[in-house]
């Protein structure tokens, strides 16, 4: 059974008197354990789609099922999320931020301490458990946010352009490390980005979305073997795929 089933999804926003069509007739499936990236131009409704998948906002039409269950509200047991900004609680330490989802669910201190310390090590921040967010760099904060997303041991990780605010070097490094984490945990990852390189490098499948109103233009399998190294980005085959996606987006009439 696919973990994400999106069927004929549409979302309209009403701003003042006008109606904005953010998403029009979006359908796709994501199988469990995959790394799938949705790529599309800025403002195409990617984030809107992700918020619907997370149960934060409702769709205007169509249906979303997560692990077979229609989503109407957040599913904290099934879905972990990493936002575009780290959105850490400034008054909590790195470790306490990772513990936050477990804390909400009343899991006892010792259990969550143990689990979350391991997660911080997994994202390479074992040494920084007692630091507050303002003492960490942007990349480190986003690592804490990834650990927090993994804390409830969800089946699905939703990632909303998590590296968009980082500089290019940090961003590349973070993508590489995310792949390592993914290979260790094998959670389903549904990743959103406007960077074609990031999308191709990270994923097994790339969903290409059109400009607003967003709809899926094509589903492109990415068959590079794993573990992937950064040199892959410079290869001719990589470039061909990137060009193909670029033309898909650019040549689609508005």
């Amino acid at each position: 059974m696919p973990i994400i089933e999106v069927t004929s999804l549409a979302k309209d926003f009403r701003t003042g008197g006008a109606v904005v069509h953010a998403l029009a007739d979006v359908s796709f499936l994501v199988e469990e354990g995959r790394f799938v990236t949705l790529v599309g131009p800025s403002g195409c409704g990617k984030s809107t789609l992700l918020q619907i998948l997370a149960g934060l906002i409702s769709a205007t039409r169509g249906e979303v099922r997560i692990a077979g269950e229609p989503i109407r509200a957040p599913m904290p047991d099934k879905i972990g999320m990493v936002f575009q900004d780290p959105t850490l609680l400034p008054w909590k330490t790195a470790l306490a931020n990772v513990e936050f989802p477990l804390d909400l669910r009343g899991i006892d201190r010792a259990t969550r301490r143990k689990r979350c310390s391991e997660l911080l090590k997994l994202v390479g921040l074992g040494e920084f458990a007692d630091n507050y967010p303002h003492e960490l760099s942007g990349g480190m904060r986003q690592r804490v946010a990834i650990a927090r997303g993994l804390a409830p041991d969800p089946r699905l990780m939703l990632m909303d352009e998590p590296f968009a605010a980082l500089d290019e070097q940090t961003r590349t490094r973070m993508g590489h490390d995310l792949l390592e984490i993914w290979e260790k945990t094998r959670k389903t990852v549904f990743f959103i980005t406007h960077s074609l390189t990031e999308a191709i490098y990270l994923s097994e499948t790339v969903l290409v979305m059109s400009a607003r109103p967003g709809r899926i233009l094509d589903t492109i399998p990415i068959e590079f073997p794993r573990p992937r190294e950064l040199d892959l980005i410079g290869t001719e085959r990589f470039g061909r795929i990137r060009n193909r996606i670029w033309h898909l987006i650019a040549d689609t009439p508005k």
């Binding site: 879905i79 999320m81 780290p86 909400l104 967010p133 942007g138």
Partner: protein, 253 residues
């Protein structure tokens, strides 16, 4: 922190030492400016005079009661306005109108309505503190970063948890600022009411000494009230800095 402390000490030594020196060298009329040491001696006597400490107690009681009533009322109404924008649109202009008017001009009205005494002083203290605390707690609600609420919802927070885990800590620094300024205004309101018309309280004492030109007593009273007010203000400011220490250098991003 230590540099600031040193600054305070140097400032105090210069002002108080200069005062003592000017008085001792007879540079000004000693009836107008008695030496600092003499004022201190009088203050010491006051602290052992049960009638004086009783007056101090009256003022402290009025301020305390006024603040304890004003603070929860103002914080909750500011919260309500922050959460219900329709209410805010209705009442914010009124609040800012009231904030702009010097409240001291209403004192005669308070006396006519409530007489002279404990009730009138407390009510005057409450109206002084209420609005500034309200405005700050309103701002505190509006300043809560929306993405943090989305984070809490995604990870399964109940509405009650969103209030206790996100709203409360996020609001605290601004609310504390409001409470501190509210406290200072509350003291001002009560002292003003005491000085204008009263049978007891430290404000009445100070005003009386001024009228009868008892300068050493007057200065001792002023000094005591200043020290106490500074102590209250600094204590609350330390709490504020402690709670707000995460916000100075970082946003949620």
């Amino acid at each position: 922190m230590r540099a600031a402390l040193l600054g305070y000490v140097i400032f105090a030594v210069i002002i108080l030492g200069g005062w003592e020196l000017i008085a001792r060298l007879d540079l000004v009329d000693p009836d107008l400016l008695p030496p600092f040491s003499q004022v201190c001696a009088i203050l010491w006597q006051f602290m052992h005079d049960p009638r004086f400490t009783a007056d101090l107690g009256v003022t402290a009681g009025e301020v305390g009661v006024a603040f304890l009533i004003a603070a929860p009322l103002a914080v909750s109404s500011g919260f309500l306005l922050g959460e219900r924008l329709l209410l805010a649109q209705t009442f914010n202009p009124v609040v800012h109108f009231i904030l702009a008017v010097p409240q001291s001009i209403f004192l005669p009205v308070f006396i006519l309505a409530f007489g002279i005494g404990f009730l009138e002083k407390v009510l005057f203290g409450i109206t002084h503190a209420y609005f500034v605390i309200l405005v700050n707690s309103f701002a505190a609600v509006r300043s809560i970063p929306h993405p943090l609420i989305a984070v809490a919802r995604v990870f399964g927070a109940t509405p009650a948890q969103i209030y206790t885990r996100i709203y409360l800590p996020a609001m605290l620094p601004l609310v504390l600022t409001g409470l501190r300024i509210g406290m200072v205004l509350c003291i001002i309101g009560v002292l003003l009411a005491e000085m204008y018309a009263s049978r007891s309280g430290i404000g009445r004492r100070i005003f009386g000494w001024g009228e009868s030109a008892q300068i050493p007593e007057l200065l001792a009273g002023i000094m005591l009230v200043s020290i106490l007010t500074i102590a209250v203000n600094e204590t609350m400011r330390l709490a504020e800095l402690h709670v707000g220490r995460f916000y100075r250098r970082t946003s949620i991003a």
